[in-house]
């Protein structure tokens, strides 16, 4: 799985200004050309400050234009994800949690990944305990 991370720092709420949108379009097109031998882009994740009210509409339009799923994640949720999981995350679960959410991610995606991680970890611990005897 390949995904793009776009880091954005802004004092005010992030609203995907026109110049950012243009740059992101160019960037995604460029990546598409050079992506081999990696798998195609599954989604683009913009990580930044809090979102503005108009962001969702703009992301929706951009998503349709580019044909790639785009999500915005406030940095605090990415931090929450790291705090909740004491290890690596499964790439499939990560992408599934992100893509099942709306264009602007909430802490739901963190909860989804964390609960999947916990289930797997518990099963693994039990399995190791049984194997060791």
């Amino acid at each position: 799985m390949t995904f793009l991370v776009e880091a954005k720092t802004t004092k005010s709420r992030y609203s995907l200004p026109a110049k950012d949108e243009r740059a992101l379009c160019d960037y995604i097109e460029d990546v598409k050309k050079h992506i081999a031998p990696l798998p195609a882009i599954r989604f683009v994740l913009i990580i930044g400050n809090e979102p503005s009210k108009t962001l969702e509409g703009k992301l929706s339009a951009l998503q349709s234009k580019l044909g790639v799923a785009i999500r915005f994640c406030p940095a605090k949720f990415f931090v929450a994800l790291r705090r909740k999981i004491p290890g690596p995350v499964s790439a499939d679960e990560f992408s599934m949690a992100i893509l099942s959410e709306s264009l602007i991610l909430t802490d739901n995606f963190v909860k989804m990944i964390a609960s999947a991680y916990r289930r797997k970890h518990e099963a693994l611990v039990n399995l190791v305990r049984i194997s060791i005897g």
């Binding site: 880091a7 720092t9 031998p37 004491p86 290890g87």
Partner: protein, 289 residues
């Protein structure tokens, strides 16, 4: 006499146990890892499969007793052929498997192990070998092991093109912090002209659970500053004062890169330099019970 005999038989037993484990590891590599690695799209799957199903179950009980007195890294390498875009014919491909026991000697030891594995790969790769630089690289890695600072800098010159790139790499970050004094001579990260076609190494790092639970000062992802990330995103006044107006974006990117690596993702930057060859240094750390 009896004591000597017991010791000899114990050594013999340990040797045969080690050989058995090596055999199992080789089998794991050829049966489970290699098929998943080709095509390259299976990388993530291979890592997950290894981590979640095989290694824990097969090796944990055995390894605990056997690896106490062994070096923290174990290399098993095997050549496979992979067709890579932009190259004529097939490229040689070498992977390294680093097994890290439950109770490592030191975190830095593991990092040297990774550097050492990279040395094998560089040595193997024909561009390096034909230019005669490979031997030098291995010497440099040895110098890193012996903690010779000036040679360490040269190792980074070979592996990374820019300081930013190094700072976004979890392994390199730690080594650099450990061995390069602050305020020392600026490092020239430009690759020597002998390597016109830049090759990138990709290290796959898996966050060890122990490190993340009780992060130590120089542990692998201790440079991830979770408390600052949101402030960086919002360009908080204190953050601008700390890093400077222009550097905030870069620091934020670096922090995200490290964070993504700590979650088990590989990080490419920038995308135009996408890898033409990939080397694997699997650092597998088993969770404690």
């Amino acid at each position: 006499m009896a004591k000597k005999k017991t010791r000899r038989s114990r050594l013999k037993r340990t040797k045969s146990q080690k050989e058995n484990l090596l055999k199992k590891l080789r089998q794991l590599l050829s049966v489970d890892i290699l098929p998943s690695l080709s095509p390259l799209g299976g990388i993530a799957k291979a890592i997950e499969a290894v981590l979640l199903h095989r290694v824990h179950i097969i090796f944990r009980p055995v390894a605990k007793h056997m690896f106490k007195n062994l070096p923290s890294a174990l290399t098993i390498s095997q050549e496979i052929q992979v067709r890579l875009p932009g190259r004529k014919g097939k490229a040689k491909f070498l992977e390294c498997f680093i097994y890290y026991p439950d109770q490592p000697a030191e975190e830095t030891e593991a990092l040297f192990a990774v550097a050492h594995e990279l040395g094998h790969i560089f040595l193997h790769y024909d561009i390096m070998a034909s230019s005669g630089k490979a031997r030098r690289y291995v010497e440099l890695v040895e110098a890193v092991r012996k903690k010779k600072r000036e040679k360490t800098e040269r190792v980074f010159q070979v592996v990374f093109t820019a300081r930013e790139e190094m700072e976004a790499d979890a392994f390199a970050h730690v080594i650099a912090k450990e061995y390069l004094q602050p305020g020392g001579p600026a490092l020239a990260f430009a690759l020597p002209k002998a390597f016109p076609k830049r090759k990138k190494a990709l290290t796959v790092s898996v966050a060890p659970i122990e490190y993340l639970r009780g992060i130590k000062a120089e542990a692998m992802f201790s440079n991830v500053n979770l408390a600052e990330l949101s402030q960086l995103a919002s360009r908080a006044q204190g953050i601008i004062k700390k890093y400077g107006e222009r550097s905030v974006e870069k620091v934020f990117e670096t922090q995200l890169a490290l964070l993504a690596q700590s979650l088990g993702f590989y990080w490419f930057q920038p995308v135009q330099d996408i890898v033409r060859w990939i080397c694997f240094a699997f650092l597998i750390i088993l969770p404690s019970r």
